[in-house]
Amino acid sequence: MPYLDHAATTPMLPEAIEVMTAQLGRLGNPSSLHRSGRAARRVVEEAREAVAQALGARPSEVVFTAGGTEADNLAIKGLYWSRRAEDDRRRRVIVAAVEHHAVLDSAQWLGEHEGAEVELLPVDRLGRVHPEALTQALERDPRSAALISVMWANNEVGTVQPIAELAEIARTYGVPIHSDAIQAVGQLPVDFAAVGLDAMTVTGHKIGGPIGVGVLLLGHELTPVPVLHGGGQERDIRSGTLDTPAIAAQAVAAELAVKRQPEYADQLARLRDDLVRRVVEAVPEAVLNGDPGPDLKARLPGNAHLSFPGCEGDALLMLLDARGIECSTGSACSAGIAQPSHVLLAMGHVEEVARGSLRFSLGHTSTPVDIDALVDAIAAVVERARRAGLKSAPRATDRAD
């Protein structure tokens, strides 16, 4: 079954399953003081060291969370609250317009409920933030900036941000910068210390670990206000019993993902380039969104995001699904309705383009057979979806909203 949705979640690595299954059979709360507790604590701390080593951080900078969304919320809300508590002028939350909703909605929530002023950094047609935009935003009034958050690589169109440059600008002005690196780890070289970030989000299930565990890397000098209150297990910043099996499995996945990254990225990029070339051959009107290359560092190697003019993304998805080919239209709401992507809209695309797009994302189980299956199906699927699109398009009138 061609699974082309690895950016949503990717199969767990056998090594991670093995470690996790072994841990599930063991007793012990890592915060307990007795022997069982110490045994569990040892597993957690070894995992912490492994994650730190893999991502270029110190073990004490690793805060385990229950996933990427929690880590993003803690970074955005927690840092806003703590920075503003130190200086009430710090109200500006500066985030890229193409952030994942975990960052974007956290920032907007602060704007609606906590007096924050949310500033969206614009992106160009390829989805990239220009460093000058950040410089301008900070230069205007550095003292009022609470924090900056720019994702390492975009989850929808795969565009990689100039994160080292942005971090350097942030440092110049003394404003903490966070980056959601969820899609980047394993596909790009990611080194927390080397790029000079203050906080960074990683999640287990995008790198071959389990769902429901994540990491916020957090510099020592930062003490965000907690989002979850309780036992204070992680630096008194994050509470909740540590999930030893998931943390151990995530560490194995992170180590392997980082170790295999160079070779893996080459392999993914070859498959991806083949996918894009052959889909566009089959459907000449298809348009690749995001960075077209040839710079391999400018785009996630596993990402192909294409617009099919005249088609509705949800029709394409359904028709491919019926043929056993699984991909994504971008984000869907809790009821399951495909939404026009805020990422594509921020890149300057009109709503019709944003609605008529598919994301194909490759991962460690992808093979040329998956690409063959997609290429075999895509022309007929697009043809059908286009006919349906013309039938169900909203009327030209009443489009004011």
């Binding site: 029709a315 359904m318 028709l319 809790s334 009821a335 399951g336 349906a388 039938k391 169900s392």
Partner: protein
């Protein structure tokens, strides 16, 4: 085209209720290749992304998804909110503003389910649209498809499907139409469908709290005017003619009692003069109905048709004779009917078979 004898690709519209769930299950049972789809029709599409914070269809969408899981068919949600707002909600408001009483379910069947959705389904390669309506389709020896009343007279929905043309009917499948509601519920329970005990929906789906007058006031505002009786005497005031429907008795809030002490009913609504006319029940009786936008389930009839006419969703049909005069359908009722509201549909039957329908434009009493 949709002969039941060969496997078809069927799109099952699943509302989250018991009827459409059992309909989809039955279609899958007989060997069709069924895909479930929930139609998101809520007025504010933006509320979907913030679903957990108050999207009215979220629970229904979940129920539909769970039913599809149990049946073992793929499931998707289609966003028809924009089309629904244009074709059903805006029309509903405009009809009330014009002093008529629309039936939005009929309109939805005509414009959304068996138009936008069916067209899209056919274009996507489906052969038929399956719904949980209580009506039956009979295939004649000649291969024509006829729409008939449901086996369950109590639940019969052929009236709200009376707008369907032969083309629309050709792509329709009503697997529960031959059963009673009780049997459908029992079957749902047997199949392990969690919606087996879900209460029937009666209200207008886009007016969640059931307060139609409040919904209309919100859209149309306060348009005060007078309530007059059939002699022309002013007997009260109102906040908008859209709050009234022909034959209505409750909620008139008239201070002055009628001379004869009998209850008064809404006889006429004039949004232009902003008046609502009330009077005794006997003045509600009509025996001639004029319908516009006739739609035929098959070939339009030639000459006069002896039939039975149904004038509202619930209630029987009365013997009648109908004929087409230009684009108008003129129907003479053998026995007078009471409370016939312009905007509602008149659906003509030959026995259990639906002949066609029209939108009621006017009704009058011709015989003394």
């Amino acid at each position: 085209m949709t002969s039941q004898n060969r496997p078809l690709r069927v799109l099952a519209a699943m509302s989250g209720g018991v009827d459409s769930a059992v309909a989809a299950a039955r279609a899958a049972d007989v060997g069709h290749d069924v895909v479930g789809v929930h139609l998101a029709l809520a007025d504010n599409p933006k509320s979907f992304r913030t679903g957990a914070r108050g999207c009215c269809t979220l629970e229904d969408a979940r129920d539909a998804r769970r039913a599809a899981d149990v049946i073992g068919i793929p499931f998707y949600v289609w966003d028809l909110a924009e089309r629904f707002r244009e074709d059903v909600v805006d029309d509903f408001v405009a009809e009330y503003a014009a002093g008529r009483t629309p039936n939005p379910c009929l309109r939805c069947n005509e414009k959304i389910k068996f138009a936008a959705v069916l067209d899209r389904a056919i274009a996507l390669g489906f052969d038929a649209l399956c719904t949980g309506h209580y009506a039956t389709i009979v295939e004649t020896a000649g291969g024509d498809r006829e729409l008939h009343r449901s086996a369950d007279a109590e639940k019969d929905q052929s009236y709200v499907l009376g707008v369907l043309t032969a083309d629309q009917l050709a792509g329709a499948m009503f697997p529960v139409g031959g059963s009673t509601k009780a049997a459908v519920r029992a079957e749902a329970a047997r199949r392990g469908l969690a919606v087996a005990e879900k209460p029937d929906s009666h209200d207008i789906c886009f007016i969640a709290d059931g307060d139609t007058a409040g919904f209309l006031s919100g859209r149309l505002g306060d348009v005060p005017g007078e309530i007059i009786d059939h002699t022309g005497a002013v007997v009260g005031t109102h906040h908008g003619t859209h709050a009234f429907t022909i034959g209505q008795r409750r909620g008139l809030r008239i201070g002055t009692p009628a001379a004869d002490g009998k209850p008064r009913y809404v006889l006429d609504i004039s949004p232009i003069r902003r008046t609502v006319t009330v009077g005794p029940a006997e003045l509600l009786d009509v025996d001639e109905v004029v319908g516009l936008r006739p739609r035929w389930c098959g070939a339009p009839p030639a000459g006069e048709v002896v039939c039975a006419a149904q004038l509202r969703a619930h209630g029987g049909a009365v013997p009648a004779r109908a004929r087409l005069v230009g684009s108008e359908l003129r129907v003479r009722l053998h026995t007078p009917a009471r409370g016939v509201a312009p905007g509602q549909a008149i659906v003509l039957y030959d026995g259990t078979r639906v002949i066609g329908s029209a939108t009621i434009a006017a009704a009058a009493r011709t015989a003394a």
